[in-house]
């Protein structure tokens, strides 16, 4: 085969694949940081199996001169670290894919007559250092050198990453990075592979952020000082992040015995004046639904980060789906208001979660941050988060002797006091209650209390985040999406190259923005894109606007859409 390859394009896709435990995550962590520091635009996402060792996991990294923010199917450089890795991503390997792998390790996985294969002794080199475990860091060194990155930069991040480990481990990983780096420069060499990606001056001042980090930072910015949760993929990262920051920011981060406890703790914490959240996924949230209903009755604020994964039941624990919209929408017995926000861009995770705390406190309602595995596990460089308009809005009052927690008010909001602040007594009850918060079976009062709670539904409509239209205002074809698919749809619609197509992204899905109907009526053709099997958002739109979106692009394999795949499916419906 011909090993002289020049990548003329300014957008490269690298996929690394290996068993759980081979350190694929380490590779992703190190490479994304090294690329970012070098001034490249970078996007990364991972897909992994629900196991601790073995299996096959992969991470996809895009590096580009311009911004890259979505997952592509195409693989330009493929680095399999174990046998079987190739079958795992077979459909994505093309004759143009360059495969960097150790012949002995992956043995018969490749047909050398069909594949562009370059033998790189990752494992052999690692073994020379002392253990094949270092092959992931050898690969980091090799890839970095292909991009002309300085060894010094690589070493710095390797050292930092392993800083908590013993000196021996640090030294061996540094040696692995160096040997890998040399493999890249000598074995491959600029005459064989040439990569032509330019630095982007904007990257330097940007931040490299994942969906998990974005939501967790948003929680801190929202004044979150209490998180209770039970570990569940893919939601646990938010708990981990806040636990790490707990000391610095005075946050109580507690791992509860189950999701039921987590939810009831969070509601108890709000009662005593904390700003609390829970983080969970579908199955865990199912256990929280009774507590959600409690929040509805107590008129307690609560922020719920619901990171979706495919169900029903245990489903695919480490994969992605947008199939819990209806769960969030209808969870909890009885009738009470709620807000559902669904971040699209990574920074939405920050701004929406921040706002969620203020909305929850102001309206005394549950606020959902509905993400999914694709969103929480993806990251890219983006503009630095802007704190200038951020306020922690507290709506707690100091109570007087005659304070009544559930005072019947015109707008439905009863000023919220907390025990110990003022002379009033704070009584809250899961039973229907009177204005003072005591149990009642006065059925006329019951009706007034229901009306009071539901008056807030109307009030919430005054503060809806509008959908974002991207593309021509004079569109004929409108693509509708919500939540994590934002960047994928954006790139796919751009790829269509049509002046008559635009897309409309919702980051608030409930209450549905008022403008929705106008946007939809203007379109000659509307296509909904959802990462689920029953187009749950289209159903919600129909319920509230009467408009039935008939053209649907749905995916429910457990993976998010790839840009190419979505482009093709959109193209098919539009031509």
């Amino acid at each position: 085969m011909d090993n002289n390859v020049t990548f003329q394009k300014n957008d490269l896709s690298i996929v690394l694949c290996g068993q759980a435990g081979q350190g694929i995550q380490t590779v992703e962590y190190l490479l994304t940081r090294i690329f970012k520091l070098t001034g490249y635009n970078v996007f990364a996402t991972k897909e992994y199996m629900s196991r601790i060792r073995g299996g096959t996991n992969s991470t996809g990294i895009r590096i580009s001169s311009g911004s890259v923010r979505a997952s592509v199917s195409r693989i330009d450089i493929f680095v399999p670290l174990n046998q079987g890795a190739t079958q795992h991503v077979e459909k994505r390997i093309s004759p143009q894919t360059i495969i960097l792998a150790e012949k002995e390790t992956i043995s018969d996985d490749f047909d050398q007559t069909r594949h562009k294969f370059i033998d790189v002794p990752f494992t052999k080199t690692a073994s020379e250092i002392g253990n094949k475990i270092y092959s992931n860091v050898v690969a980091v060194g090799t890839i970095a050198s292909l991009f002309g990155i300085k060894l010094q930069t690589v070493s710095k991040y390797v050292k930092q990453f392993f800083s908590a480990k013993s000196d021996d481990v640090i030294q061996k990983n540094l040696a692995a990075a160096k040997k890998g780096f040399n493999l890249g420069t000598h074995l491959l060499g600029p005459s064989k592979i040439k990569i032509d990606i330019r630095n982007d001056a904007n990257v330097k001042d940007q931040i490299l952020l994942s969906g998990t980090e974005s939501v967790a930072l948003g929680a801190i910015a929202g004044g979150c000082n209490f998180i209770s949760a039970y570990p569940m993929s893919p939601s646990t990262g938010v708990l981990v992040f806040l636990a790490k920051q707990a000391k610095d920011f005075g946050i109580i981060a507690e791992q509860a015995e189950d999701e039921i406890a987590a939810m009831n703790m969070a509601i108890g914490a709000w009662y005593a004046g904390a700003r609390a959240m829970v983080t969970t996924s579908g199955g865990g949230f199912a256990l929280m639904t009774e507590g959600l209903s409690l929040a509805g009755m107590l008129e307690s604020p609560i922020v719920i980060h619901l990171a979706q994964r495919p169900g029903p039941a245990t489903g695919l624990p480490t994969r992605t789906e947008q199939a819990d919209l209806e769960l969030a929408l209808y969870a909890g017995h009885g009738e009470f208001p709620r807000i559902i926000l669904a971040p699209g861009k990574i920074e939405d995770g920050f701004y929406l979660t921040q706002k969620a705390f203020n909305l929850a406190d102001k309206y005394q309602v549950p606020v959902f941050i509905l993400t999914d595995q694709y969103f929480v596990d993806s990251y890219y460089n983006t503009s630095c988060l802007d704190l200038s308009d951020i306020n922690v809005e507290k709506h707690i009052i100091k109570t007087g002797v005659d304070y009544k927690r559930y005072k019947l008010t015109e707008n439905g909001i009863s000023p919220r006091g907390v025990p110990g602040f003022g002379e009033g007594l704070i009584a809250v009850d899961s039973d229907e209650h009177d204005e003072a918060g005591h149990i009642t079976e006065d059925l006329d009062l019951r009706t007034r209390m229901v009306d009071k709670r539901l008056r807030k539904c109307e009030l919430l409509k005054n503060e809806i985040i509008p959908p974002e239209l991207v593309g021509s205002e004079d569109y004929k074809n409108l693509v509708v999406c919500w939540g994590s698919t934002y960047n994928i749809v954006r790139e796919a619609v751009k790829n269509l190259g049509r002046d008559d197509a635009a897309f409309l992204h919702f980051k608030q899905v409930y209450p549905l923005p008022r403008e929705t109907i106008n946007y939809l009526q203007k379109a000659q053709k509307t296509i909904i894109v959802e990462n689920n099997a029953t187009s749950q958002f289209a159903k919600l739109i129909k319920l509230h606007t009467g408009i039935d979106i008939k053209d649907k692009i749905l995916k429910y394999s457990g993976l998010s859409f790839y840009v190419e795949e979505l482009t093709e499916r959109l193209d098919g419906l539009l031509n």
């Binding site: 707990a246 000391k247 189950d258 004046g273 409690l294 107590l298 704190l387 009584a427």
Partner: protein, 289 residues
């Protein structure tokens, strides 16, 4: 302090005449008044059931939550504002049945709260089914052939988990039960007070007379710092002992362990976000040299 400070006007109490909840309500008010605990500084947390209505007959802060879920809420209230006195109070079905998992893990977590359980060995509000503590052979409309499940032993479980304060009282003995409750409230950390009480409507077996006949106080010589001895007393079946079974005064509370109150005593509602620190944290995501 006069118990009237906790008094409520025009009460329509939902308990049956002669219910064992009445003396417990009175005893608790007396204990709190003697300890000079202000209503504004007290939070009563309960679940669902007849016993769980106790806070509604009290002039104080209350959180009457879900069935079985009083303990997680009480834990969070205490840790969000450690200056509050927090009492989680409910029945045996609520605390040991529906809330059994929370009972176990709250003991492990050790918040400085008092857990009072009205134990009448039957479900009252749902009309007479077996509770986790119903005695073997107890017949009900559901357990038609009599209960055959081993009764839950809350004291033995609590001692096994090394709870800091484990006691049992009897609604028929106001004076001693009040003293137990006072000690439980003063105990730093989780304190369990299981209180035997009759259900006059649905438990015709475990009556006042039955409890008087089948209980006895622990001897003065009982060493409540001795865990093995406490466990032995907790598993007595011939006569059910009353009193303080076990104490462990060396345990750190949840509020102490959580680590945010060492340098700053402020409750969470008084605290403000440090924007400077947040700014610095965000800066680290620039991955600069």
């Amino acid at each position: 302090m006069d118990t009237q400070i906790f008094g409520m006007a025009n009460l329509d109490i939902a308990w049956c005449p002669g219910c064992g909840n009445y003396p417990i309500l009175k005893i608790l008010k007396q204990a709190l008044a003697e300890l000079e605990i202000e209503p504004t500084n007290l939070v009563l947390v309960s679940g669902i059931g007849q016993a769980a209505k106790t806070p509604h007959y009290f002039k104080t802060n209350l959180f009457d939550g879900l069935h079985g879920r009083a303990l997680p809420a009480a834990t969070a209230i205490k840790v969000a504002n450690p200056a509050l006195t927090v009492i989680a109070e409910s029945g045996d079905g609520d605390m040991y049945g529906e809330g059994g998992n929370h009972f176990i893990h709250t003991i492990r977590r050790n918040p400085d709260i008092t857990n009072i359980v009205h134990n009448n060995m039957v479900y009252g509000l749902t009309k007479g089914q077996a509770s986790p503590t119903s005695q073997i052979g107890f017949k009900t409309p559901v357990q038609v052939g009599g209960v055959f499940l081993e009764p839950f032993n809350p004291l033995a479980v609590a001692i096994a988990l090394d709870a800091g304060f484990v006691a049992r009282g009897f609604a028929g003995d106001a004076e001693q039960t009040k003293e137990i409750i006072k000690k439980a409230i003063k105990h730093k950390g989780y304190a369990l007070v299981d209180i035997f009480q009759p259900c006059v409507s649905f438990n015709k077996f475990n009556t006042y007379e039955w409890f008087k006949k089948h209980t006895c106080y622990l001897e003065d010589s009982h060493d409540h710092s001795n865990r093995n001895e406490a466990f032995k007393q907790a598993t007595e079946k011939e006569k059910l002992p009353l009193g303080i079974f076990y104490t462990n005064l060396d345990k750190k509370t949840f509020e102490e362990n959580i680590g945010i109150y060492q340098e700053n005593q402020q409750p969470l509602y008084e605290r403000k976000l440090n924007f400077g620190k947040l700014h610095n944290l965000i800066e680290t995501f620039k991955i600069a040299d």
